[in-house]
Symmetry: C2
Subunit: 153 residues, 2 copies
DNA sequence: TCAATTTATATCGTTCACGATGCAAAAATA
DNA sequence: TATTTTTGCATCGTGAACGATATAAATTGA
């Protein structure tokens, strides 16, 4: 009985990749009525915590590149959720602020986390077990951040 | 001290989404020289376990839709990794088989899993802790599969 | 002060990911 | 057998993700 690393079933990354995709799928019933996608929901979470942030801060908090976030914000501006104004001190910056619609969406989104927990309980049973993964995921993310930085230097 | 579900830092899904993206990034140094992407690597893993499978089987094993896998396989055919031939019993099927190049790539990819483990150890320390998440991830994936099926009915 | 460098954002091209739709072959059923 | 339904795959459109590159503004430093 030998351990075979090239087997799909032995790969942690495949599970992360799949779990992430399926979890995003589970958000669909709640985000579709609001007319937003999961990455757009993440941007809103960031702005609901603190309004009026430059693109870079948002990208940094989501661990995304600005060339991912810029088009995302452009789409959100087009759909009336945010405004993008030139920075006053630093005119290279684009300050992203919530519109009335963006602010009000928070009320509608308020119950999404508990809805998702309920869905998970319904089909699988244990939110506790899942939340126990958080410290490990955080350590993994921190390590991967450093690793990928080393690659790009 | 109230728990705030709408805070980014309290969201498990965001961590899965981030961990998955960053892990895929960590594969780059090993996959780029082979000229393949991470999803293409997953397809190869499936075909290395068993050659000559219809599109549907591959999609099912990767938990992807066929409309994701079909273009993926078309690109892999164009880059000379696989062939796609009409099924003999069921002519609706497309049987995907490895080319010589696809078979030989297994040798070059052999050490990727241990390289990735080494990278994780280097920057974070504990592969054991990460592999301990596997049962939980599997339960989560299984529950989400059922949940998302219920949605689409 | 002026050139060189860095920084913040944007643009472009390629590859996923997936909902919606189309189509032909197979299976089910009348 | 003829018709309906299902199945397997493909195509199209949209929205991420991200590497590479561009551009203008700010910063550094000679």
């Amino acid at each position: 009985m030998t351990y075979e690393p090239l087997k799909l079933e032995n790969q942690v990354c495949f599970r992360l990749y799949t779990a992430a995709r399926l979890t995003m799928g589970a958000y669909h019933p709640y985000l579709d009525p609001l007319g937003i996608t999961y990455p757009q929901y993440l941007v809103l979470l960031v702005l609901w915590e603190q309004d009026k942030q430059p693109v870079n801060d948002i990208a940094h908090k989501l661990l995304l590149e600005t060339n991912t976030v810029t088009p995302l914000l452009q789409r959100m501006e087009k759909s009336g959720l945010v405004n993008r104004t030139k920075g006053k001190e630093d005119s290279r910056q684009r300050i992203v602020s919530l519109t009335k619609k963006g602010i009000e969406m928070r009320e509608q989104a308020k119950h999404i986390p508990e809805c998702l927990s309920a869905d998970i309980i319904k089909n699988e049973g244990s939110v506790e077990e899942i939340t126990q993964m958080i410290p490990t995921l955080d350590k993994l993310i921190e390590g991967l951040k450093q690793n990928n930085q080393q690659i790009n230097n």
